[in-house]
Amino acid sequence: MSSSGTLERRPPPDRTAPGKAASGPPALDRPGPKRAGGIRLGRRRPGAKPGQLSVGFAIPAILVGLTFTLGPIIVIGVFSFLSQPETGGGVVYQFSTEAYRHFLFQEDFLGNTHLDLRYLRSFGLSGLQALVTTVVCIGLAFPIALWMTTKTPRAQNLLVLVVTIPFWTNLLVRTYAWILLLSDRGTANSVLEMIGLEPRQLLYNSGATLVGLIYTFLPFAILPIYSSLAGFDFSLAEAAYDLGARKLGVVRRIIWPAAGGGVMSAVALCFVPAFGSFVQPVLLGGGKVLMVGNLIAAQYGEARNWPFGAALSVIILILTLLGAFGLLRWAKRSSQKVSLAI
């Protein structure tokens, strides 16, 4: 998707040369500029092509985005600085940093504050799980993507389809498939019994969660890496061989760098959603371990602490934003094309 629009380098702006602007009619008289939401949207680029619509037609989509995407994000930011009502969910409109303090500190009955690492541990655990998921997914996706590029164009198209189908398959369906496989009398245990091993509890632990996460995000890793390798000229690799490079050297120094943009996209596409995952830890992990996703959801469910849930969301959002900026800077420095959403 084209958040890549913000990431790709565009050709230098073809703005009207200053001299021309001075000789022509003053810029303000031109029929382009319109304002929406304070941002100047309508500086008409010279030579608007036939077939395009005027700026006004972009406004409905922008309004929907401002209202139902940016709006909620701002509201959650505001809520994180409000107070919790005595009972029930919702917020009281009174400024408070209690939600953020609650993230790190706990107050006991005597009013003493002390460090409470429970929630930080949830973040660490989610981060670790997301990290393992990302590393395994990329470790598997890279050879698969490389293998795909060695096929004929027809076969490549078919393989892309094969990898894309799981991508668009319902997350619950894919997670449920693993419940069927791993449950007490499920397929995996039947196989264990057949080869003479004791059946065991395979479900409802962090291993099952991890398998579910890897299963979910593998296509998210394969597609961008394949995308970046598909245009790669493999005669470069052949040339390296001819010059005496060894296999691992070629992979490390020729092919891996060529896949760089795709690998970084894959990191973002696997890590962020795995970090905030909810379905796999609940259904496969049995909800025993408190991950960030469940922790946030619980604040709007049974725990009923909306400001705290909002504060947790803000922390995740900031981490995500920092990651995205880091990625952008990396992409700019190494002039790689990174797309944050395939």
Binding site: M1, S2, S3, G5, I39, R40, L41, G42, R43, R45, A48, K49, P50, G51, L53, V55, G56, F57, A61, I62, V64, G65, L66, T69, L70, V75, L146, M148, T149, T152, Q156, N157, V162, V163, I165, P166, F167, W168, N170, L172, V173, T175, Y176, A177, W178, I179, L180, P224, F234, A237, K247, A268, G276, F278, V282, Y300, A310, I316, L317, I342
Partner: protein, 279 residues
């Protein structure tokens, strides 16, 4: 998904055939085939079990369509499916229309305006779903709406826009501007160029964008879960409840149907985008 399959660069005559690359990396094919099996085996097992005649999900008691019959007459599943289809239909149409208008107008926004608005529209893809879910819940409470059908439609429309947009945008950037210039030169009015030249040429992208928006809406569990009320339970929310209790023969059937939806939509979008590549 708009992963383009670029043409494999043709090697010069006399150089090593491209397929020989594989021989350089023994085991590559094996790893890949095992990984692809890993991707498909679990889902195929679900499909197989959906034809199980037994009352327990896990013990095979012969082929039967019994559970299909049960699911197709199960009032809760039918009503949840109806809600999902209604939400998805409205969200698909709305988000596709918004996406088409935006794509056709975005090049005339200022550079910064286009970058900012595209980033905002694309945010639902990047922001973790659980955050988007609680944020939307907080937002609709703030504007005085109660969870239910309308918030579902609004939220689905906004997170479907980027998914609808990616194929439309890809198609749009691949079109040769000469079509529109010649139409204009031949005297077509502004609207005629849009309606009679641009939209027909954009159609494969529009259809595949709409299909993806539909799937994304049908599949959403996380955001809907915060916004649905008792009367507006969507299919994913309902089956999440069933799955939480463990394996269930009805879920096998519903899962198979959703899998078929994914296969059909992915194949259709692939065909549509391929035609574009051939052009």
């Amino acid at each position: 998904m708009s992963v383009e399959t670029r043409p494999v660069p043709r090697l010069m005559r006399g150089s090593i055939p491209h397929s020989l690359m594989l021989n350089r990396f023994p085991g590559l094919g094996t790893i890949s085939l095992v990984a692809l099996a890993f991707l498909y085996a679990p889902m195929l097992i679900v499909v197989a079990y959906s034809f199980n005649g037994g009352n327990q999900a896990l013990i095979w008691q012969g082929f039967s369509l019994k559970w299909y019959g049960r699911v197709f007459t199960d009032a809760s599943i039918i009503s949840a499916t109806k809600v999902s289809l209604q939400v998805a239909a409205i969200a698909t149409v709305a988000s596709t229309v918004l996406a088409v208008l935006y794509v056709l107008a975005m090049d005339r926004l200022s550079r910064a305006g286009s970058a900012i608005s595209t980033a905002i529209l694309a945010a639902p893809i990047v922001v973790p779903e659980v955050v988007m879910g609680v944020a939307t819940l907080a937002f609709i409470r703030l504007i005085g709406l109660a969870p239910g059908f309308i918030p579902l439609v609004l939220a689905h429309t906004s997170f479907c826009v980027p998914f609808a947009m990616m194929n439309i945008r890809a198609r749009y950037t691949g079109l040769n501007p000469a079509y529109f210039e010649s139409a204009a030169d031949l005297g077509a009015t502004h609207w005629q160029v849009v309606r009679r030249v641009m939209l027909p040429l954009l159609m494969p992208g529009i259809i595949s964008g709409a299909l993806l928006a539909f799937v994304v809406s049908m599949d959403d569990f996380m955001i809907s879960n915060f916004l649905a009320s008792a009367g507006s339970t969507t299919l994913p929310i309902y089956i999440f409840g069933l799955i939480r209790k463990g394996v269930n023969p009805s879920v096998n059937v519903v899962a198979t149907m959703l899998l078929i939806l994914a296969v059909v939509v992915t194949a259709a979008t692939t065909v549509l985008t391929r035609r574009q590549a051939k052009r």
